[in-house]
C-alpha cells in the first residue's frame, strides 16, 4: 500500500468548502433553470418520502394505519407517550445518550493524545505505529465482531464476562484510527514556534497540549465529536450482540426488538423510529455545514 486509505478519504474536504463560498454569488433567475428546479424538487420529495411517511404514521391511530390514510385526522401525540413509557424507549434513549457521551469523551481523550504524539513528539517507531493503526481502517467489522464477542464474554482473556455492561458497549469504540488521523493532520499545521515559546515558559507536552493546542483546535474537535456521535448512535451489530437484556440496550437495538414484538402496531413503531432518528437529525440541522463536510470526508458508513 503506497498511501493509507484515509489520506485519500480526507482529500475532498477543501473543495467542499470552496464550493460553498462560490455559491454566494448574486443569484439571477432564468427560465432555463425551471426544469432543473423541477427535477431537484421531485428528487427531494422522493428522498424525503420515507421521513414524511414515518412522521405521519407515527401520529395516526391504529385504524388509520391500515386504512391508507396519507395524514392522521387529528395527530395522536399520545403515541409518543406510549412508545416512550410503555415500550421502554425512555430507557433505550437514556442508554444511547450515556453510551454515546462516554464514547465521545473516550475518543476525544485517546485520539487527541495519540494525534498529538504522532504530529509533534519524536520517538522511535512513530511512523510504523501510525501506519499500523491506519491500516485497521480497512478491516471490516464482519471479521472482528466474532473474536470480540468471545473476548467480552471473557473467553479469550480471563477478565470475566462484560455482557450487558456499559464497558462492553463503550470501551471497544473509544479510539479510532480515523479520528487520530484527523487530529494529527490538524496538529501538524500548528507552528513549531508556539511550542518553543511554551517550552521556555517551562511547559511540557501535556501542558502545551491542554493549554495551547486544544483551545486552538475547536474545528477539528467539533468534526471528531460529530463523527463519533453519529457512528456511535447508529451502531447496531455490536450492541445487538452484547445486550441480551434491556438494561443497557441502546435505541437501535430497542427499535429492532420492538419490530418483532410490536406486530401490527405500526404507529408505535414509527413513533419509536422518530425517537431514534430525531437526535441525529437535530444535530445535523444545527451544525449542517460542518456535519456534511466532516462526514462526507470520512466515508462513515462502510
Amino acid at each position: 500500500m503506497t498511501e493509507p486509505a484515509a489520506v485519500r478519504r480526507q482529500a475532498p474536504a477543501e473543495p467542499v468548502r470552496a464550493k460553498a463560498a462560490a455559491a454566494r454569488e448574486p443569484y439571477e433567475f432564468r427560465l432555463a433553470h425551471l426544469p432543473a428546479y423541477l427535477a431537484l424538487v421531485v428528487g427531494a420529495v422522493v428522498s424525503m418520502s420515507p421521513f414524511l411517511y414515518m412522521v405521519s404514521t407515527s401520529l395516526m391511530t391504529l385504524g388509520e394505519t391500515i386504512n391508507r390514510r396519507l395524514l392522521p385526522a387529528t395527530p395522536q401525540w399520545v403515541n409518543y407517550r406510549t412508545a416512550w413509557s410503555e415500550a421502554d424507549f425512555a430507557l433505550y434513549f437514556r442508554n444511547s445518550v450515556i453510551i454515546t457521551a462516554l464514547v465521545i469523551v473516550g475518543v476525544l481523550v485517546t485520539c487527541t493524545l495519540a494525534g498529538y504524539a504522532f504530529a509533534r513528539i519524536r520517538f522511535p517507531g512513530r511512523e510504523t505505529i501510525f501506519l499500523v493503526l491506519l491500516a485497521t481502517l480497512m478491516i471490516p467489522g464482519t471479521v472482528t465482531f466474532l473474536p470480540n464477542f468471545l473476548m467480552v464474554r471473557g473467553e479469550v482473556i480471563p477478565w470475566g464476562s462484560w455482557l450487558n455492561t456499559l464497558p462492553a458497549l463503550t470501551v471497544p469504540f473509544m479510539s479510532t484510527a480515523f479520528v487520530i488521523f484527523l487530529f494529527r493532520q490538524f496538529f501538524l499545521g500548528i507552528p513549531h514556534e508556539l511550542y518553543d515559546a511554551a517550552r521556555i515558559d517551562g511547559a511540557g507536552h501535556l501542558r502545551f497540549l491542554t493549554a495551547v493546542v486544544v483551545p486552538m483546535s475547536k474545528p477539528v474537535i467539533m468534526t471528531a465529536t460529530l463523527l463519533t456521535f453519529v457512528s456511535s448512535w447508529n451502531e447496531f451489530l455490536w450492541p445487538l450482540l452484547v445486550t441480551t437484556t434491556p438494561k443497557w440496550r441502546p435505541l437501535g437495538v430497542g427499535l429492532y426488538t420492538f419490530i418483532s414484538e410490536a406486530g401490527p402496531q405500526t404507529h408505535l413503531l414509527m413513533a419509536g423510529a422518530v425517537i431514534t432518528v430525531l437526535p441525529v437529525l437535530l444535530v445535523y440541522f444545527l451544525t449542517q455545514k460542518q456535519f456534511t463536510e466532516g462526514i462526507a470526508t470520512s466515508g462513515l458508513k462502510g
Binding site: K19, Y27, A114, T144, L146, F236, L237, I259
Partner: protein
Amino acid sequence: MPATTPAIRRPRVSASARREWLTGYLFVLPAALIIAVFGIFPIGYAIYMSLHRWRIRKGAFVGLDNYLSVVGDWWGALAFFGGLLLIIAAHWLWVDAFRRDDGTVALAGRLLGALVLLGSGVAVSLGWRLMTAEGDRRFLQGLTRTVYYGFGSVPVQIVLALVIATLLFQKLRGQELFRMLYFLPYVTPAVAAAAVFRNIFSPRPERPANTVLEWLGLPTQQWLFETRPVSQVLFGGLLDRLGIELSGFWAGPSLALVTVIVFGVWTYTGYNAVIFLAGLGNIPKQLYEAAAIDGATRVQQFRHITVPLLSPVTFYLTVLGFIGTFQAFTHIYVMRAPNTRDAVDTASIVIFDTFYGRNNFSLAAAQSVILFAIILILTLLQNRLFGRRVFSD
C-alpha cells in the same frame, strides 16, 4: 529512568530525549491499546478460530478443513482468487510496465495486458463453477447476492448523484437546502430507516408501495417477501410463452433483494452527490470558458470536460460503493423477512447467521476471513487503479 524505553541499548541518547520518547509512548498508549485489542488482535484470533472445530466451545485443531468446506474445491478457489489478482497484474501490464518503452514494445505490453485480463475472466468463472459444485452454498450464494447488490445499486446511485450534483452546481437558489435534504438519508440511523422501508415495501395491500402500484393499475407485489427472481416477477408470462427459462445467476436477484437495492440507492445517492459537487468545484472554470468560445454546446462541455475530469471521483465512489456492499449489514438484517428463507442474505448476513443462528463459530470465522480477503483485494485494486490519480492535486 525506568527500563521501559529502548534507550537502554543506545547510551548516547540524552536523558531529555529519552523522556521525550517516554512521553510519546505514553500519549499513544491508550489509543494503541484499544485499537490493538479490539481491532488488530481479533484478526489473528479469527484465523486461529477458523483452524479449529469450534461450536460455542473450542474443539480439535482441524487445519484448513473449515476453509475447504466453504470453498469446496482448492483448485477452484485458487483459480477464483488468482483470477481476481490477475486483474491487478493486467492493469499493471497495461499502464505501467512498458511506460518507458515506445511503439511496438508498448503495444505488445498492452496486448499482453488485455490477454491477461481475458485469462483472469476465464479463471474467475471457471474457479467459481468448481467452488459452487462442492462448497458452502449459503455463503457462495450470499457472495452472488452481494455482487447483485453492488451492481444493482452502485451504478444507479452514481448516475443519479452525478445528475443531482450537476444540477446543483448551476448556482441555483436553495443549493444548500437541496444539498442538506439529499444528504439526510446518509446520516439517518439505518435501523430506523430500514424499519420504515419494511413498512413501505410490505406485502400488505394497504401499505404505500402497493397502494402506488394499485393506483397505477398494476398488480400488488410481495416486495420483501418475494423470493422469486425479478425476471420471473416482471416478465414471467412472457418468458414462459417464449419458452425461455432463466436460471441461476442470470435469472437476476429476487424482488426482495431489489427492494434492499432501492434502500441502498436511497441512502448513498446524496452522499455521492456531495462528493461529486466537491469534484465539480475542482474543475477550472477556464476550461468551460475556452470551450464556450470554441462553440461547444452545454452537452458537449459536459461530455468532454465534466465527465473525463470527474472520472477519478467516479472511480473512487465506485470502489468505495462496492467495498460498502461487502460490508453492508444493518439495513439488510432489519429488512429481511423471517419467512423468505435467505432471499436477501448477502455474505455478511450469512456470516452473522452462521455464528448467531447456527452457532458454528469456526465456519463463521473462516467465512469472515475469506470475505476479508475479498475486501482486501478490492482495496488493493482501488489503490492500484486509482490510488495515485484520485485527488492527486
